[in-house]
């Protein structure tokens, strides 16, 4: 093959250019820390990375949802615990009050304490978490429990509903996070009176009427209330425990996804450094050969 000076120049230029282009690409990878920076760099990898990114964002959101659910359930548990204490105290007082030897004054004093306990229980029933009433069903913005008559209460009326709050805890899986006031405080439906409160009001009325015989059946009812409270607490507790485990599992999955995403997107620093130094070596070699090849010609040796 006949070789001309222009061929040499063209080849040297072309090769130097190609080396430089590769060098530039590797340098960009090193400085950005990313293997791919635009879809055409590696379409399949980019699609996988996009998918992993949205998976990761979803996982993080679900972890956040579960943590929110757990704190909601913890608030519920605290409220139920207070509720239980109030009922327990009422139970003790009822036993005291049922004692036929008790003087009327003492019954009156117990009745006063029951009034206070009812007040307290209304507060507990109206517990709010992050600005939302937890026992209101889905009517979370409105106070759920109110006296029938503010000045002379004889019952507590439920204004919430029996609907669930369902939060997504993993793709397509929802969990009911709330216990409705209807279930916890034994209401047959929205707008009706709470049976739990009725028991307390009956107790208060019996005490005020100084009627120990009427108190006796109420003790049994309070016992039932305690049982109901325990079963509600165990529901909330089981859910909270479930969240705890699921959060731990989801966080592991999140770490896993982060690692996959990093494998897809991020450079292997050692490898890129090696490639970079190798490429700059090749580039320098190309420059050197270029100088060596282009310089001499027959003219240098004439005469």
């Amino acid at each position: 093959m006949r070789i001309t000076n222009r061929m040499l120049v063209d080849n040297v230029l072309r090769n130097i250019n190609r080396n430089l282009a590769q060098l530039q690409k590797t340098q960009y990878q090193q400085s950005s820390g990313k293997v791919v920076s635009r879809p055409s760099d590696d379409p399949i990898r980019v699609t996988q990375a996009l998918y992993m990114r949205s998976t990761l964002a979803e996982q993080q959101q679900h972890i956040k949802n579960m943590k929110d659910a757990k704190s909601w359930l913890d608030a519920t548990d605290t409220a139920l615990m207070n509720f239980g204490e109030i009922i327990h105290r009422s139970y003790e007082l009822a036993i005291d009050g049922a004692n036929g030897d008790l003087p009327e004054d003492a019954r009156q004093a117990i009745a006063d304490e029951i009034t206070q306990l009812i007040d307290h229980l209304v507060q507990v029933a109206n517990t709010s978490h992050a600005g939302r009433y937890i026992f209101a069903g889905t009517r979370t913005a409105d106070i759920p429990f109110a006296y029938d008559d503010q000045n002379n209460p004889s019952a507590v009326i439920y204004q919430g509903n029996e609907n669930d709050l369902n939060w997504e805890v993993s793709p397509g899986v929802t969990m009911t996070v709330n216990l409705t006031g209807a279930a916890v405080f034994k209401v047959t439906g929205a707008g009706n009176v709470s049976d739990t409160f009725d028991v307390l009001f009956d107790l208060k009325n019996a005490l005020e009427a100084n009627d120990p015989d009427a108190i006796q059946p109420l003790i049994t009812k309070l016992q039932e209330e305690l049982d109901n409270n325990l079963s509600q607490r165990s529901i909330a507790g089981a859910k909270s425990r479930r969240m705890e485990l699921a959060i731990a599992r989801a966080e592991e999955a999140e770490i896993n996804s982060t690692e996959i995403l990093s494998n897809l997107e991020d450079i292997d620093i050692a490898e890129v450094n090696m490639t970079l130094s190798m490429q700059s070596y090749v580039y320098q070699a190309a420059l050197m050969t270029g100088v060596k090849v282009l310089q001499p010609s027959l003219i240098d040796f004439m005469k």
Partner: protein
Amino acid sequence: MSGTFFGFNTALKSIFAQQKAMNTTSHNIANASTPGYTRQQAVMAADFAFPVPSMNRPGGAGQVGTGVNVVEMRRIRDQFLDRQIQAELSSLGQWEQMSETLKLVETVFIEPSDSGLSTLFNEFWVTWQELSKNAENDAIRTSLVETSVSLAEAINHAHSQLTTVIEDLEYIASIKAEQVNTIAQQIDDLNKQIATIQLAGDAPNDLKDKRDLLLEELAKLVDFQIEETTVSRPTGKVDSSGNPVYADVPDGQIRIYLGTEEDPEKRDVNDYLVHVNGTYTYTDSSGTEQIVEPINNVNKIAFDSDTDPPEFKWVEKIDDPAVSPPSYVDGDTLTVNNGQLFGILRAMEQVSDYRQDLNGLAKELADSINALHVSGVGLDGSTGLDFFEYDNPSDPADGEVAAYLRINQDIVDDINKIAASSGAADEHNGEIALKISQLRPDIDRQYDQLVSRIGVKTNEANRRTEGQEVLLGQLENRKESMSGVSLDEEMAMMLQYQRVYQASATMITTLDEMVQTILSMKR
């Protein structure tokens, strides 16, 4: 017996020939870096020998040569290689155009990144999830409106960027069409000059170099076929009936057909860009034979963006009696199959496809969210509201959803109107927000697919461009190997010519001395 001064002439002819060769060498060296230059060679041949056979030829043994002549100034070029290079240049032009355009499209969908559309989509879905847990929360409602507005604006922006790419392509297309016309005009001018010189018996080497360079430029723009033409010339002989005999002589001109078949039989004679006719005859309607003198025609092309899909068209066609029947109509479609012109058409189609995909994505997003949103209830009891709107106010049916995607103004004005929950106004179950957030996989997948399609196409265009460049580099190398000027070679040839020149001069001196010897015999 040859004459006393016989040798003088032989040496003199050699001196002339070496000079001519030396000038060619000088011309080669001078043009060593001229683009498109083809090295030339002064082809020498021994002149006829003496004596020629005849009755009264002088006696003696053998013939004696009479020296050298430069018989041809040859242009060292391989036309087959030229055609190959032209074909590959067309492919390079096409893929380069695709690659350039798609790189622009890619900047619209720059992924993976923390600022691309995918990130905005992420925020959008996450905010719906948050709302599903806290349906009556004002802060989350406000943040949802903000996020949605950002997302809609980003989609609007992507749409307008794609539209800009298409508009730029239309502008480039009309410029490239004009370039084709200019090159055609230049080739036509060169054609005429070349024919004049070639028919006079000379070799218009440098003009042909110029024309070949123009053909390479043209090849990058559009695919074409070349036909070398001949002209009918009297041979000076007559046939048995006394009529002059004509023969077809190549006149060095070329016809160029755009975007047509390789097989001359299948070529559409109407699709010529530069047309050259020798003398030829045709039968007119009255049945008499008509002779047409050589004519040169250049037709023009233009880009038409109004047709769907946009195309290149013939304009200003010259009615050419050579083409029978002359059937051109201005505005005929020009079918291009390669080159930048074809690349532009393909890129346009591709980008409009992506814009359509974006419209589809936006419509799917809006429609599926709206379908859920209308069934929900806002904090103020409002229901039946769309969340997204997308009709073009001036032309609701134009389908450019991505351009007009926006949040329902009622919702922007009053965040209470976001229908996050189902049931009564005072229920905050967040059910609708949850269902909306569950649309995520469908929409995300559509977006990922769009990005992936763009990535695959861009990647292909980049690879093909690189491949074409390598291939062309090799072909150019082969061409350069054949036609390029080698300085070493020219130097060696220069020395050779110089030495022959010196020897010829010495020859004359020697012959002169011999004549001196003869003259001195008289003393």
